[in-house]
Symmetry: C2
Subunit: 241 residues, 2 copies
């Protein structure tokens, strides 16, 4: 296997991605099960090439992991505790995992590089979960979507990173109308309301909510959605591009 | 002079500080005149020791530059354009400046390190300008407070960093009641209003403003401020700790 080319990347600086999706009235995050040991979960992430900007790196990593271009993506903060990795049990697990992996790919110097202290730049992404085709990273067994309130304990400070991303998402949802990135192309007003309720974890009365959202004048009303059910068919909407 | 010990620091990662102060009804930023050449201005900044967290590094740098402990400090975003320094005229100016500086302090390897591409973590700080005793960095001629709207062209993307910090300050001023960090220990309501007007660059009618600020219940009213002038003496306030 090809040697890991650490010299191509900026050392001690990584990107971790909180990829938000929305399904079954729940805000979800894409997390990966690491192959180093039992119960090791982590956020998808990667390194920054010396020849790309940090935003380009984040877009590239997200494309590699989701197959999607033009994802809505926002850098929200850097995480730089001095104890990130250094000295932790996890570090030894990674070191022995890498040693047993493939000596042609990871020599001792590369292992030192990968297990050094890293400052992480946190990005969150909003995706239409139905369009994503999650792809595993090198040391991952599988990926899965998990409810933001039901995440397992993750390595490093990844649970704190998700909490900070969720906070940033709440602050930006209203202001920047980014929530529609989580929905399919067309949706009913009830679906928008349920999305907001999932993100903010509180209920919004339908009348006020619909008035507020329509007042923003960013939605285009399409035909009615006939489901064959007895109740009144709701209108479908689409976000004006 | 002592050799610059680059091995103590994380490479390619720096901290730049937007230090906000407030004087003469104007929001000001502390900027430094660099000694490398004519008209070179920059934000105060520094590197991150491998043994300290990024927040500790920012606090240390701010203490070194202002003499103050316990400054209000907020990380607001990372700046990582691929063209930060690399290939710019400025880089050559810095290289030749460092070469002529002191070969015992900066050898060729150290000069390469300092002039490599850096990703910068932006922090903004709010200080009582009267308490600050600005201290020059190694390659600075002098520091000065300049109005946020009257800044000279600065090196790299430092003008954009200030603009982003100003935006973050506006977003946080109300929510987190951080504005009082810019004022002296005691102040009149008029002074608070003028501060808000300077930060948001718009006027607030006094009656509504006073009602809103007092409604937050974070201020303690002290005695009246007698100035000897003919007009009514205003109350002095203090932020409840």
């Amino acid at each position: 296997m090809e040697r890991f080319q650490k010299e191509k990347y900026i050392a001690q600086l990584s990107i971790d991605c909180v990829i938000f999706g929305y399904k079954n009235k729940e805000l979800k995050v894409l997390i990966s099960k690491l192959s180093y040991g039992e119960g090791l979960w982590s956020l998808p992430g990667g390194y920054i090439l010396k020849t790309e900007s940090i935003d380009e790196a984040a877009s590239r990593i997200l494309k590699e992991r989701t197959g999607l271009n033009n994802i809505y993506l926002e850098q929200f903060r850097a995480f730089g505790g001095k104890d990130r990795i250094i000295g932790s049990e996890y570090r030894e697990m990674v070191r022995s995992g890498l040693k047993s992996f493939d000596p042609d790919r990871f020599d001792d110097e590369a292992i030192d590089w990968v297990t050094d202290r890293f400052v992480c730049l946190g990005y969150y992404a909003l995706v239409d979960l139905n369009k994503v085709n999650p792809k595993m990273g090198e040391f991952e067994e599988f990926l899965k979507w998990e409810g933001v309130e039901e995440l397992p304990h993750m390595t490093h400070d990844h649970n704190s990173i998700v909490a900070a991303a969720h906070k940033a998402l709440r602050q930006n949802l209203d202001e920047q109308l980014i929530g529609f990135n989580l929905l399919p192309e067309t949706f009913t007003m009830k679906e928008v309301k349920e999305l907001y309720e999932a993100v903010y974890d509180k209920e919004f009365p339908m009348n006020n909510f619909q008035k507020k959202i329509l007042g923003l004048q960013v939605l285009e009303r399409l035909g009615k959605k006939y489901t064959g059910a007895q109740n009144r068919a709701p209108y479908l909407y689409r976000f004006k591009k």
